[in-house]
Every structure is written in C-alpha cells, then in structure tokens.
Symmetry: D3
Subunit: 246 residues, 6 copies
C-alpha cells in the first residue's frame, strides 16, 4: 500500500517532521510518499495562503494517481483543498483536522483545539462546523505565535501550547486536546505528559485511517458531488488541466 | 492485539455473521473475540431491548479487561451502552453506527441509513444527532421488516434493502448508503453491486478503526466524564458491581 | 388517581425526601406510591449507574401497571430509562429534568442547572439538547460534591449550591435556577429565599404535570416509537421478560 | 383559584367553544374567566391581526390582575402577546401553542401541527423554533380554510383536518397531532377517534398547566427580561398606560 | 424616490437624530420622510413597548402608501412590527437591526451588539436568531443605561458604549461593533475612532439598502406569508381597519 | 465610484451578460470594470473549478486596488475566493450568492435556489449554511443542465428553470426564487413574468449593495481574520506574491 502525505506548504522542515511522525505509526508494509507541492506559501495562516496551497494539493493528487498511490493525506490543519482533492481522484483523501476530530469524538465528549494566530480561529471554527463537531468542541485557542515561529523557537512554542492547553481543560471543559497545526507533531509527547488528558496531532490518526480505508477497499463516492471535474476549457493551470480536464 | 467484538443481542447466528465479516477485514495478527452477552434480548429494536443489552455490553467489557483485550466494538447499529462501556474501561470502545458514520463522512457529502422497523427510526435519528451528522444524513429509511426476519428470509430482506436504498439515492440525494443493523453484514456485497454508490456496514470500519486506535496507543480520556464509576453501594448486578464498584 | 414516583437509585433517605416534596404539592385525592427499585446503585452519577437504574425503573413501571397506577415519574435529574418506560406502559411517564425544563421555559427566558459532580455535566447537557432547550439553558454548573455528600452534609451542600446559583445569575444570565438532582428537593425553599429568582426542583412540577395528564386522559402514543416491545426471546431479566416479552 | 382565559380575537362564538372545553377539564374549584378583548380582529391569521390582538391580551391581563386572577391563558395558537403579557403581570401566563407542544413532547417523539391558511405556516414555524421544538415537529400542514370558515362549515373543516392529519401521520412520521387553532377545540374528539394517534388541542393542556403553576406557587421571573415595563411617557393606549406606565 | 423612516417611539429628539444621520447618507434625489407615530411609548425597551410601537409603525406604513412612499425603514433596533409592516404594503420594508447585521456579515466574520438595558438582551438575541446570525454574533452586551439616559447624558452614554465595545473586541472576539439602538447614531463617529474596528449604526445601512431596493424595483413577495391581511371585522384600531381590512 | 465586477470564469459571453445586467442597474456616476481573470476554467461547477477561479479572483482584486477600485463583486453563485479577496483588499467585497440571499430575506420568509448540475447542490448548500440561511432556504433545485448549455440553448435552459421554479413554489413553499448561476441573468425578466413571485439574480443586488457600501464608507474589518496575508515566502503565484506577500 502506498500513501501520499501532502504537506500543503513549502517548508520542507515541516514536511520532514510530518514524515517522521507518519513513519513512526504506519504499518511496516505501508509505503509513504511525503511531499510538499512545487508551489505555494511557506505556511498557511489565512485564506489566500489556503487557496494557493489547495492547488498544490490537487497537483500532487493528480501526480499521485500516476504514482499508484492508494490514499492521500492533506497534512495541514485547515484541510486545504480537501473537497477538490476528492474530485480529482477516487482514492480516499483524508484531512488531518477531519481525522483528529473523528478520533477525538471516540475518546472524549469534549475537545479543544490549539491553533497558531488569532486569524486562524475563524477557519478552524468553520471546519469544526463543517465536520459536525460544534457540540463537541469547547474552544479554539490561539497561541498568538505564527507557524514558522514554532520551528524557530520550539521551547517558546511548547510553553505557549501548554499554557493554552491548561486553560482549555480548566476553563473550557476540554477532556482532550487537538493540536491545530501539522507543525505541532513534535510537541505531542511533551504535551501528553504535561496535560493529563489525551493530546492528539492529526497526522498519526490520518495515517491509520488511510490504511484502514485502503484495506477496506473503501473509495470516494463518485456518483455526484465528487465526480471528476466536467470536461471544459481551462486557461493556465497546465498540470491540473492536463490531469483532469482534457 | 486482541479486539473484543460484542454483539449486544443473544442471537448467535448474528454473532457468527459479525465474526465472519470482522475476520475478513482484520489484520493477520489481530486476535478477535466475538461474543454475545450471557443475558439480553434476541434482537434490539426498541428502548427496553437496548437497556438490557447495554448491561450485557458492560459485563463483557469488564470481562474483556481481564482477558487483556485492547479495544472493544459494540456491534449493533444503536451503539447500546457505548458511553457506559467507555466508563468501564480505559481501552477504546467503538460503536458500529459511530464508525460507519465516521467513514461515510470521508467518502461522501451525504448518506442515508437503511434500518429495520419504523420504530427504530427515532433511535437512529438520535444517534445521527449525537454524532454531529444531522447535516450529512439525508434520510433514515426503514424496511418494515424486523431484525430476525432478515435472518430467516434473506432474499426478502435484501430486496427490501435494495428498494429503500434506491429511493434514498434517487429521492433523498444520498451518495453513500449505511446499513443500519449489524445483521446486514451479509448483504454488503450484493448491495454494493446493485446500487452504484458505496454501501457500508458498520462492523468492518469499526474493526479497522479499533486496530488503528490500539496501534496509536490512544485510549479513552478518563479525566472527567468517562472516569470509572464512583465507588458506591449497588444492589444486584453482581458482576458489574464486583468489576467496577468495589 | 394513583401516581407512582420512582426514585431510580436505592438510597431510601432520598426516596423519603422525594415523597415529602411530592406529598406537599399533590392534590388531596392523589394517591402517591413512592419507591426505589429493588436493585440498582445508591446514587446516579455516571452512565453505568444510569443503565442499571434504568432497568429498575422499567421493573417498577411493569409492577405499577399491575398496581393500577395512572402515571409515572422518574425522580432523578438524568431521567434514566425514560424512553424505555414509555415503551413499557401506555400511561404517561414524566422525567423530573424534563418537567423542570418545561416549567422553567414558561416563567423565564433563560435558566441554569446546578448539578453535582463535573462528570454529570455531559449527561445533563445531552438532556438539555434532547428536550430542545439549548437556547434557554445558559449554563450547567457543578458543585463538585457527589450525590450522597449532600445528604451527609446538607449545610455544605446548600452553601455550594448557593455559590453556583449566584454565579449562574450574575455571570451567565440565568433568570431561573433548576436543581439538577432529586436529592436537592430539601434545598428549594432556602435557595428561593437566597437567590431572588425562581428556584425549581423537578419533583414538584412532575407531580402536577402527571396529575394534569391523568385528568386530561392523555396517554403515550403507542403507534410507533413507543409501542410495547416486540415479542422475542430474552435471556435473564426475568421480571421484564415476563412483563413485556411473553 | 381564578384563571383568566383570553381568546385574543373578538369572535364570541369561539370564546364560547374555548370556555366549554376549558370547563370540561378544569378542577371543580377552579374559577374560569373566559373573555375576548374589547378590541381586535375577528380572527388571527397574519401579523397585523396578531399585533392588534396582542394589545387586547395585555389589556385583559392588566384588568385580570385587578380581578385577582391567578394565571392567564392566551387561547390562540399563535400565542399573541405572550411575552408582553409576562411583562404585564407576575402571574404565570401560558400560550396554548406552547402548552400543546409541552404536552406533546412527553407522549410522542414526533408531532405535526394542523393549521388554517398557508400564510399561517411561517408564524407557526417560528413558534416551533422559539419553543425549541424543531426536532420534534415533523410538519406544519395547512387546510387552506380560514379560521371563520371552520365555524360556518364545521363538517368541511373536520374533513380537511382529518385529511391533513392522515398525511402528517403517513407521510411525515407524526405520532401525535396538534390542532393549530383555538377554534379547533370542537374537533378533538372526532379526530381522536379517526386518526389513531393522540390529537391535542392547546386549551385543555393550558388549563391544567395553569392550575399546576398556581398550586405550585410558581410565578414569572421578574428579575430582568420580564420585569414590569420601565416607567415612561406613552401617547395613546390609555388603559395600558394607566395600568403599567404611571 | 421617497423613503419613509419611522422612529417607532415618540421621542422627537431621537427622530431628529435619525433624520440627520439619514440625510447625511441618502442620495441627493432621495426624499426622506422621517416621522414618529402619533401614539406609542417614549422609548422601546421591552415587549409591551414593542407591541404598542408596532401598531404605530403599521399606521405610518398605511399612511405612507397614500403619500406615495417607495420604501419604509423601521428605525428601532428591535425592528418592531417589521413583519406586520410587510403585510401592510408591497413596498420594501427594512428594519435597522436587520440592515446592520446584513452589512456586518459582509465586512467581518464576527460582530457584537451593544444594547441598552439588560432586559433588551433577550429581544436582541431573538432577532439575531431570526436573521440567521447566531454564528456571527459573538455577544450582546448591555450598558445598563436606559434609552432616554443616552439623550440626557451623552458623555456617560458614550463612555459606557466604549467600555462594552472594548470588551466585545478583546474578550468576545468581535471584529465589528453594531450599535443596538437607533438613538446611538450620534455616537458612531466617536466610537469608530476609539475602537479600531468598524462600528455600524443601523440607520445609515438601512437608508442605502432601501434606496437599492427601490432602484432595483424589488418588492415584498405578496404570494403567501406577507399577503395583505384577510378582510374581516375589526373592533377598534380605526385607521388600521380602514387602511387594510375594509 | 469605480466597482470591479469579476466573473471568475473565463467565458467572455458570460462576462458580457453580467456587464449588461450590471449596467442596467448601476447609478449613472458609477464606473464599472467587468472582467474575467486571465486564467481559470470556462465555467465553475465543482471544487477544482472553484479553487482555480478563486486565485483568478484574488489576482483581479490585487490589480483592482492599483486601478483605484472602490469595491469588488464576485459574479459566480459559488462566491469563489470571497474570503481570500477580503484578505487581499480593505475595500468591500461582495459575492452574488451572498447578495441575493441578503436581499431575499428582506422580501420573503422562504426562498429556493435554482442551480445547474446536481453536483453543485452541495456547494450551494454549504453557502446557504455559511450565510446563516438554512431556515430561509426551502430547497436547492438543479436543472441537470451544465453552465455552458444555458448559453448555447437558452430556450431549453429557461424552460428547465421555469419547471424547477414552479416546483419550488408549489411543493417546497418558496415565496421567492434565486437564480443560482451568474449566467442566468438573462432569464430574470422572463421568469419574473412566469412565476408570480420575485425572481432574483445575484448580480443586480450585488451592484447596488456595493454602491451602498462605498457611499457609506464601510470597509472590511482588517483587525484580525481578514488582515492582509502575513509576509512570507511563496513559490510560484508571482502576481499574488508580488501584490500581497513582499
């Protein structure tokens, strides 16, 4: 089985962190392809970032189908391009935010999400709604640090996450903490020790869910909403055009 | 890894069907314990049925912890006793309704559930709400046949399921069909062929999700809601009392 | 008219408190049967507690129909076994949480519920949702004391309730306070004096509602969801089996 | 105990029907005052109707407090002026729509409402939402006949109600029928026989609920939202001005 | 084009403030009629106030149609009588709360509303729900000052508004502030400077929206819910009777 | 005032239809810039289409700010790139779906949306939710024809729209019809005549709303969610990079 994990941003250090986490949990016979798109922003913290990243995701999915990939993971907590990716292939596509929330609901009645900047709260809030988790999510707390700062100064990052995690538990009633950025995979272990409640990243659940889907032979329903794009003229976006529109 | 699958009713033919389905999808090194509780109703079609079955589930979970089980699956589409089971152990517990909906949301924007009797619609409707799936579920359709009738007359059962499945797709906009009874595992293949959209039972996703949870080392949050029961006097319910209250 | 009030736990002191409250509000020609089931936990603070209690409730309802009872009240704020009880009889069945919320909505736009342990918040939250009261309920506040502690140390209990009640009013915007445990009936008067907003227990509204239902001749709809259980084999649960399944 | 029932429209035949229904269910020591306001429309089928009627309701409540009434019932299924009436007195005020839905939720998981004209559907739909009953209400069906037509041609009215009631049960899944107009009290018995599910008017539940509130000594919370109106200048509306603003 | 702006209360100083604001934003060829009804309360802070004001609004709309008005604005943040006014004319009718929320949603993901007394919070909360804005509205904060106090002591009023506005931004996550009283039009400029986020009154958006509707030729749908009132007897309410019921 | 209207697809005939509609309703002193992006799909019927189009929209907004545009309209009923566009400029940005729903809510209690292909229903459904219109939208009906077919065979298109419009009114209870594709502007007049309820395109309301925003001086809140993108490395997307990230 070959699973492609797409870090939708172009910061390769983060791709490596994601790879390490994924490798530590995947089955021994699972082949992992962990990539960043050729184009896109260095981090994803807003809507323009997200739209650029989404096209990179679609590109990698198109390539992935040629590489005989069996499933795809979008490894950014905004799940950018998730629905477009589901159009672009019939293989299962999992977002890490979606995966983390799916798992959290099984082990705790209420969770909170720790995010990066304040400006990301709305995006995350919309995802929580889109996945039907409004009743389970007690709060989305931001650290005020941007994505890349966590890479540059991990101690400061960890401290900020722990502070917000404690507030989520003590003030908001969270019984499980979700790490709302793929870059946070490096902090899972430390936070699990510190907080006394399950702390989940999204990458590791997504890997196991992707393996499960492949083993079950379950694929995206192509009957209507996620059909391949209709054939039509496209100006620009050559690789997508070639892959999906001709 | 040892996973215990509890068919909450006491119809052993159904337990066998569930076992077959589970064995067909589990990893080669997964040990399956597939059981029915010692007490309980022959099928679960209403609330009294469900409450009796729930205690059997708790019983089997208590036993399972002594048997070194790593995860539990409640194999009835009403997920009876799910929250109680989460109190009774720190191992992950999955319901098949919950698992089926978790998987369906990844592969289709809208699903429908095929159920047995009309009287089960309300229970299923409440589960759909409890799992945050109101927006994804287009309809819950009942066949008008009771649970055991499907075992006695499988052709009639299949026909009724296909008829309702087609209506769900054509009239209600479903793009994926969930089989709303553990006893329907025998019909998955035939329905998948007939309907042209993914048809999901709950048992097979639950098995793969349970394996995923165990491999990830993710356990139920015991910090508050799902803490073990408070120690207290209990009259009757000897095995539960011994297992959880003394 | 004969109304049976079932304290679903087996702490007889609490049954007595409930009886006193019920007697103080019932009509002079209403006969009250106030009982605890023969089996069950001493208090109800979690899901396993609740499931055991629910079966005791069903048992008492079956007996009650032979005793010519006209209505049933489940006197625990989790309303355990409510839907099962509605299956087991065609007489009206009222939960005290349901009754308290029904009354609160008539006299105030927003209420809060005072509960026992933190772990009970989720159960109460689910009930609030199940009864369509999400928009009216401003908060569920727990005292951190367990059910039986209120009996042993009533002053401490009252103090804790008053403290949380004041916060509910001043910080959460509650204009009415619901006492979220049948054992709190002893505190209604003191709290009403202290808080300056209506303070409601659930037992007294349930008694008057039950009388109203009986006088109106309104019974549970047996047309579908709440039909008597389907006839089927049951292993164990002898009294329920005899009463409902044969 | 003295309960004032206000038929908010000025059609005295309807007031008489309401009186008869109320007298048939009230306790022997309950004194009923059943009135129409001095001003207002002959029937209430739209928003302007409703606003005029609401002021008549407030007027009658102000008078009622001088007449030593203990509770008020607004006997029109739109519950016109309900919140204003709660401001105008500290005695409990019940709407018949609110009362009918409160009772329906106890005896059936799903109900439907039968209404008069199509134009009333939106008002009723808003009430269903305001009382937190969206999940319980399966449909609001209109007969296409106006309020007064039911008085003039009761057979035709009954037939139309039965037709819509059957559709609500068979097509929409209703397990209980609410009669969405105070004028329908005359049809309850015939419909109960015909439909095989509980058929509820709102007047009789409201009477018993009002008696219950008075006996329990429960009054409207006057701490904030339903405080008496602030003292201020009012031009016109002499009786209301005198009663509440000086 | 002639737009009638109805200040539903009878405080003419407030009508003048509204007129000034409206004149400052209307097109040069828009004729404004800014009026108070002949009857009604001096301010609108509760339900009885609102119902009296609503009839004044309907009266002015009836007159307005004779004055050849092209659109109507109800200039009180409770939008009293909005739906009745839509029945009374086929010209577009806009409430200022509705208009403010419509505009706010375009420029910010989350807004908060600053209101007068605590007792107004519920009315505003209901409006937020009625306009589908629950997800966008982060808080409704009251100043504790009554409507007329803002006219008498504007500095104190402004200070209170700024204090609550800052809390809405910093504690509740508002990114836009709505002034929840027509009388607050005088504070828009000062607050815009002070708060650093867009501060919106409702009057100026309503004026521009009204102009837009008239230019587009868009009128209220009279096909069902907002049809003119049914012809019928009305006692009292002479001007409304004459205008709409004969 | 200069308003830029962006047809997010690259079919210039559609851009011309949009221009005509916009010119017919804009103020005489409004300068309109009606464009298609340089890149993108010929029509927008799915998620990949939408993501490509969204970047074209962002591009045109960046250019527009250099062209001194005062407001932007995204003229596709999926409102592609709306939130990204709000990040890219502080000028108001309006989507035509958003504008159409804003207007519809003022003139009718319930509307339906007529869409193109079945696969677009989900996107539209999500928009309805995102704009808080779930309660107002009675149905989303698709014609089964694709976007470009309406241009090639307008009679067939009109017929299909009228058929679905009638069903929306008669079966779903719609009192207003929204045309769910910018290409439908050519059908507004014919449908208005045929259907007897207001039929709204989104372009004309968006133009008037944009004018209103500009005249009021209301701009997007840049305080948090819609701040300009954070400065960071971007690979590819040269024009966006230059315009927003350096």
């Amino acid at each position: 089985m070959k699973i492609k994990i797409i870090n939708p941003n172009t910061t390769l250090e983060m791709t490596e962190s994601i790879r390490k986490m994924a490798e530590s949990v995947c089955d021994s016979d699972t082949e992992l392809l962990v990539v960043s798109p050729e184009t896109g922003p260095a981090s994803i913290e807003g809507y323009v970032d997200e739209y650029m990243a989404a096209l990179g995701v679609v590109d990698e999915v198109i390539k992935g189908d040629k590489e005989n990939c069996d499933a795809y993971i979008i490894a950014c907590f905004g799940d950018p391009g998730l629905q477009a990716a589901r159009e672009a292939t019939d293989k299962p596509v999992l977002g890490i935010a979606e995966s983390a929330m799916s798992v959290a609901k099984v082990i705790a009645p209420y969770f909170s999400i720790l995010s990066v900047l304040d400006r990301s709260v709305k995006v995350t809030d919309d995802l929580v709604g889109a996945y039907g988790c409004k009743e389970f999510c007690r709060s989305i707390r931001s650290t005020g640090l941007d994505v890349l700062e966590f890479g540059k100064n991990p101690e400061k990052g960890l401290e900020a996450l722990i502070e917000q995690g404690k507030k989520a538990i003590n003030e908001d009633g969270a019984e499980c903490i979700l790490l709302g950025c793929a870059g946070f995979v490096d902090f899972v272990e430390a936070m699990n020790k510190e907080l006394g409640v399950p702390v989940l990243d999204g990458v590791s659940p997504a890997v196991k869910l992707a393996e499960a889907f492949v083993k079950l032979g379950i694929k995206t329903s192509k009957v209507n909403t996620y059909k391949y794009p209709e054939k039509k003229d496209v100006i620009g976006f050559e690789s997508i055009k070639e892959g999906l529109y001709l």
